[in-house]
Symmetry: C4
Subunit: 193 residues, 4 copies
């Protein structure tokens, strides 16, 4: 029962974060193609952040779906994750408005890294109160493996972005692709369960 | 269970999109009828987009209500639909602020076309994991017939809007009316089921 | 099942409308009491609209709670209500920013009247598919009696506000008070049911 | 059943409040560290308010989870709480933009005090319709003890902030820490129940 409300609250916050981001795409005052064209960096960063938040929502969904027990620790670890996610519209807007300037890409990668760390902490906190849960163990193994790899790559992406924005950006895109590749095993485990 | 969360998340995002749009109607600083009157194109485009999002919500509701199975593919196809829907406030604001200028109507029709394509993809992805489901088949037949007709009409509306905004607008309104005409059959099938 | 999603969507939209309104209270750039004081009309109109939306949420809650059947007509009548409610932040902001100028109070009363009409339509549409439902009949009798009285009073409040803002405002406040007075009978009927 | 909708609505409003606050952190137009640095007071006040709203959400969750009966009085007491919570983004933005100027900290402490009073009223209203409920009694004892202490401390914090912003701020932070210290007993009582 408690789990339902945690899901509802997380869904609400992620849904709002994802939709609020579009407010950074300020409506141009003229009806020219040029005015629309000028928005492309804001648009591209919006698309990417939408994708990242979609990945988080999907993973969060799989994770919470696999567990039964939720306690105060899980609630706080979850709020901690939502806190960092809530900063994504800000970092997205800053990066978009400044046309992927090196510093903004580095800050964006740093923020995604912090989101990753927060997700990892959530995984560990959940692990503490969900021992002897086979479905969760499958999710945990997959997600913490990918999670750890992401954190390493983000940590590389931050200084890389400061050297050259495109390299930092490429690594960040690579991480997103890695998460998009499906983990058939998780779904299989869930179904068997 | 998974289905419930997909619904909750979609409802959340659509509810936010629909409500955020009203923020484009900037509160005028003077208390004159003239100041209010100047807002009419923003208001008209708001009304129309509200209607379109209402149609999407209704159809989405019928669609998800008719199915039992939800998998990773459905989640992503759903997110893809929500992505295009999330751009509606932007296109609405641009069209309204520029008094239905030809280019803005064309972009608006293009966006609605992309939403339609995304909805069609969602239908197809759901079809893959919901075979032998009579209720869904009814929804699918109705929605994909109307959906395909919409896509053809939108594709005509885009160049038509560039020639003359009013023609593009008229076609777009026509499509909305087509969706508003009730499909008694769907509800009947659901009830029988 | 369908009813649940109608509730969830309505809750979402009303929750967003209520919270978005606070964005009209622009944060003052100076830290002086004077800067805060200047906000009082915006604050007062926010308080009142919050109250009105709370009343609508409560009534909507009682209404939907009392019924079993929901169909396409109810969904559209509900969306129609949400449409007018979604304009409340705009009317609130306009009235607050212009210090309750006659025209803004009249428009505000007009909007509340339209919300009332939309609610009344919703009642009637629900009535069509919920015959032989004792609990709903109780809600219907109470809400349509108060509803009709409200519509009469709002219709008086609109020209009254144009003559003198305070009279229109007073009538509007009176209507809110009328709705706040509890209907013990409804809750009793629900409990007995 | 009614309880579920109260939870859903509260979750929605709190989720929106928490996420809307981030909009006060205006995206800087330049990509410099200096531009980012200038945002620190806005960021710090955002972090603190996020924490406070997280505490409220957690407590609200525990509270509603422990009860069975919900009536009209609870609905209004809950809306009253949500009203004061909805002003947190405003007070947060004002405090952040004015670099924790004495008056803004005092107003912030005053608002948190009013939120505390509203929560206390909610506790009392719930108590009236949930007698003979052992789980609720545990929550009540803990939360009203901490609640009363908070109200005393906030009442001290308001004039203290006017004398020196840092003292008022320190007391406010102290209260947050007090709420973060876990009440193992509540969770235990819930589990036993």
């Amino acid at each position: 029962m408690t789990k339902t409300r945690l899901e509802a609250f997380s869904d609400g916050v992620i849904a709002i974060i994802i939709t609020i981001m579009v407010l950074e795409m300020k409506v141009p005052h003229e009806a020219s193609w040029a005015a629309l064209e000028k928005l492309w960096p804001v648009f591209v960063s919006y698309v990417f952040s939408f994708l990242m938040l979609g990945i988080y929502w999907g993973n969060h969904h799989h994770l919470i779906h696999s567990i039964k027990e939720v306690n105060g620790g899980v609630m706080w670890a979850n709020l901690h994750l939502l806190f960092w996610l809530s900063l994504i519209p800000f970092a997205t807007g800053w990066m978009g408005e400044n046309h992927f300037e090196a510093k903004t890409v580095a800050v964006y990668a740093l923020l995604l890294n912090l989101c990753g760390v927060a997700y990892y902490i959530l995984l560990k906190v959940i692990q503490n109160c969900n021992r002897n849960n086979e479905t969760f163990r499958h999710v945990l193994v997959k997600q913490s493996r990918k999670g750890m790899l992401s954190m390493v790559l983000y940590t590389v992406a931050i200084p890389a972005a400061l050297l050259h924005a495109a390299i930092g950006g490429a690594i960040t895109i690579l991480i997103a692709i890695m998460w998009l590749l499906p983990d058939r095993n998780i779904e299989k485990a869930e179904r068997e369960h």
